[in-house]
Amino acid sequence: MDDLTSALSASASGMRAQAGRIRIVAENIANANSTPVAPGLEPYRRQVPVFASFLDKKAEATLVTLTRVELDPTAFTVRHDPAHPAADAEGNVLVANVNPLIEMMDLREAQRSYEANLGALDQVRSMAAATLRILE
């Protein structure tokens, strides 16, 4: 595979990985207020995307991939709400360990990286166009 095509594959893998990250952040935000259905059960646990680079033999480039999604081990938020069906004996309810502020920052960073990959893709495309203009 020639270099410009490898560059396109690398940018595409970056965009795919960042899009996966945005999806996970969206899942976290959507579940920020999730509670268990009954006492003693756990609410939604925040997901953390993990990226890894790998050498793709076909593309001849170091691509990036969303290897796995891990669960955030931090403690759940406790809310006092005795009327809730999942409230324990003291009237406390466990709420998902998601901080919307952190998620928004993560979303912004993923968006920025996605745009950088898109910019790289655009530059490579214009280089390929310059090569084709030699034929004119």
Binding site: L4, A7, R21, V64, E109, A116, G119, A120, S126
Partner: protein
């Protein structure tokens, strides 16, 4: 006199390999092959090598940008000197009918680590700003080299048409 102009179907990136072969067959004298290979012109060969280098560097930078959030990834770069070694590694040919390969095919390029400033908490050492700057620099140089290439081919065409 038989004049055959052929353009190989394999268009290897910028290496526009136009070959003009003139065959003469005066009775019983055999075929004399006078060929002109544009890729042997030092200007065009140099430019196509430059385009190949810039293409390879673009690929390295695109990989850095793609890995800008990968833990423990350190930015890489490509030096022109490392690329010369790759272009020099061509297949050895002892007969004109052998396969011609200009080293670029299949050979790997030796990149070097070029961390951008401080590392983040995850150990990643890529700065998107620096990489974007390098990318636009490479893109401009690529545009320059390909324009010069195009102009030289145009000049040659002008000469072939006799100034018309």
């Amino acid at each position: 006199m038989l004049i055959v102009a052929r353009v190989p179907a394999a268009f290897n990136r910028a290496a526009l390999n136009i070959r003009l072969t003139i065959r003469r067959d005066p009775a019983g004298q055999g075929i004399a092959d006078l060929s002109m290979d544009l890729s042997k012109s030092s200007l065009l060969a140099g430019l196509s090598q430059r385009l190949q280098f810039l293409g390879a560097r673009t690929s390295v930078i695109a990989q850095n940008i793609a890995n800008s959030d990968t833990p423990d990834y350190v930015a890489r770069d490509l030096a022109p000197s490392a690329f010369d070694a790759r272009v020099g590694a061509a297949l050895r040919v002892s007969d004109p009918r052998h396969l011609q390969a200009n080293g670029a095919a299949g050979a790997s390029v030796k990149t070097h680590l070029a961390p951008d400033g401080e590392a983040s908490l995850s150990g990643n050492q890529v700065s998107i700003e620096t990489q974007m700057m390098k990318l636009s620099e490479t893109r401009m140089e690529y545009g320059l080299a390909s324009s010069i290439y195009r102009k030289s081919v145009e000049l040659m065409r002008l000469a072939v048409r006799g100034g018309r």
